[in-house]
């Protein structure tokens, strides 16, 4: 899922404090699961913002909350449309895709992010999420024993660990596991260590963000003549 983290209340307060009526929009999908921007968090952040604004003598700013199922899809955003005209700004608690989907849907409405979108990852343990995928558009997990060297190695090395790997940890951060140690552990379990003798050639980054913002088009899913939204 997409993992996000809440921005600090003063930062959100300062973004919205010059508006009169602000709609705080939660999202019921990924950011609900990672406890950052769902209905519950929208309520908590809304209350905190009202308090923070009052403390700065801006208690006149109205902050209301609502949550839609998915901010990244027009069908769900449509449900929001009737309410939006009552406000002069939206603060989205969706991921960056959600914020931008709202911005595209409401071209004249100022949009502010309430979250810092972090990564595609998993719940590692209660309250801890970790990054697993960089969305490079050219998945090579099959070559690397199911551990991604692009995402899990701080230097994105394809030909083995650097000199900063020690006792299973990466030198960049003491609690960060070395991605190549993880690859090694699984390769040993799978009996495929010999595979790593091959010199892996340079990666083609053009399928990722380096190749410019991307689009996925499924011709078989498109309505004839309407393949492109733009």
């Amino acid at each position: 899922m997409i993992v996000a983290d809440r921005k600090k209340i003063p930062e959100i307060r300062d973004m919205i404090k010059n508006h009169r009526r602000v709609l705080l929009v939660g999202c019921g999908t990924c950011v609900t699961v990672c406890l950052a921007g769902g209905e519950r968090e929208a309520g908590i952040i809304g209350s905190a913002l009202r308090m923070a604004l009052r403390l700065q003598n801006r208690g006149d700013v109205v902050v209301d909350e609502c949550t839609i199922e998915r901010q990244c899809e027009d069908a769900f955003i449509d449900l929001l449309a009737p309410r939006v005209s009552d406000y002069d700004a939206i603060c989205s608690l969706g991921c960056g895709a959600g914020v931008q989907a709202l911005a595209e849907r409401f071209p004249k409405m100022p949009l502010y992010p309430g979250l810092n979108t972090q990564f595609m990852g998993i719940l590692e343990s209660q309250g801890v999420w970790t990054e697993k995928c960089s969305g490079c558009g050219n998945c090579r997990l099959g070559e690397f024993a199911g551990i991604c060297p692009i995402t899990r190695c701080a230097k994105r090395l394809f030909n083995g660990p650097c000199g900063g790997s020690r006792d299973g940890k990466c030198e960049v951060h003491p609690d960060l596991g070395c991605g190549w140690q993880l690859i090694y552990d699984r390769a040993v379990n799978l009996g495929i260590l010999g595979r790593f003798e091959r010199i892996v050639p340079p990666h083609d980054w053009s399928t990722g963000l380096d190749g410019a913002p991307r689009k996925v088009v499924r011709e078989d899913q498109c309505i004839a003549g309407l393949c492109s939204r733009t």
Binding site: A154, K155, R156, L157, F158, N159, G160, P161, C162, G163, G164, S165, R166, D167, G168, K169, E171, V172, P174, C178, W180, Q181, I183, Y184, L193, F196, E197, I199, V200, P201, P202, H203, W205
Partner: protein, 303 residues
């Protein structure tokens, strides 16, 4: 030997001991410190490594290497994959060749968050193995740029870094083996402090025959008090406890420096006994006097 062999290449081929020093380019645009370093190391070492923005911003390593060469030293240009993509890396090598610099040490470099560049973006388009292979093949396949061979590119005398203290050992061996297969003719180890661990590592080097495929030089780095103080717990892991205790008991900076130089000399003395080791690379974080004292007292001064 190719008529185009570099001085370092000739030294490697000679089978004699190789002594290198390391110069960090100045943190400014004044070339004077480089001229001073060139004067100090002239005739003392066979070549001088020039670091590439190792943990702080400094003068371009290529410019510094070129200035050192003009002063009569044989430079080894360090090239890290941290700050440049494959386009800039190839361009750098061609520029180096044009300036008469063909010893290139390929490394991924220190991660930028460990230096003073926390907010900087890194590149890591290709890794050190891929960089070695790119440089080795510039003349034939255009260095993996999707071009044909680049006219008049290379040959280079390529080197890389070896990490005796790093894990997991099985993959470190594979990586080192790849570096030599990709074209590394010399390998410089990370600074050696744990002699027993290094000797264990060396036995494996010999049994794998790696010392016959590349000249392996041990990194010697006298531990300055500031370096020791600023090394995080992870970097300090490479320093064995008795050594750390020996230094930590010294409160006077002068006594510390003397002890660090002694330890470096003891390290050189002990490692010189290892069969097949080709030499040393002395780096003293800009304390040239310490490096020169080690070079002089070790008896390794350049012949």
């Amino acid at each position: 030997m190719s008529p185009q062999a570099t001085g370092l290449q000739e030294r490697i081929a000679s089978g004699k001991t190789i002594l290198l020093a390391e110069v960090h380019p100045p943190r400014g645009g004044d070339p004077a410190p480089l001229r001073e370093a060139a004067r100090l190391y002239a005739g003392k070492v066979h070549a001088v490594g020039v670091s590439d923005n190792r943990d702080r911003v400094a003068m371009s390593a290529l410019a510094a290497a070129s200035l050192l060469k003009a002063e009569g030293l044989e430079p080894i240009l360090h090239v890290t994959t941290r700050d440049r993509n494959r386009i800039a890396l190839v361009s750098e090598a061609l520029g180096a060749q044009a300036l008469g610099i063909r010893n290139l040490l390929c490394t991924s470099g220190n991660h930028q968050t460990l230096g003073n560049f926390r907010a900087a973006r890194n590149v890591y388009d290709i890794d050190a193995v891929q960089l070695l292979q790119t440089y080795a093949n510039l003349a034939t396949d255009g260095g993996l740029l999707g071009e044909n061979g680049l006219e008049g590119a290379g040959p280079f005398c390529l080197g890389a870094v070896a990490s005796p203290d790093a894990d997991p050992p099985a993959l470190q061996w594979l990586r080192l083996d790849k570096k030599t297969r990709a074209g590394a003719k010399f390998l410089v180890t990370q600074p050696v402090y744990d002699l027993e661990r290094f000797e264990t590592w060396w036995r494996e080097v010999v049994s794998r025959g790696l010392h016959e495929r590349a000249a392996i030089l041990a990194g010697i780095h006298p531990l300055s008090d500031s370096h020791f103080a600023h090394a995080g717990p992870r970097a300090q892991q490479a320093i064995p406890d008795p050594l750390a205790a020996r230094l930590a008991s010294l409160t006077d900076p002068g006594a510390w420096r003397d002890a660090a130089i002694r330890i470096a000399l003891e390290t050189i003395h002990r490692l010189s006994n290892l069969r097949g080791i080709r030499g040393f690379c002395i780096s003293a974080d800009g304390d040239h006097d310490a490096a020169l004292q080690i070079i002089d007292e070790s008896g390794l001064a350049s012949d």
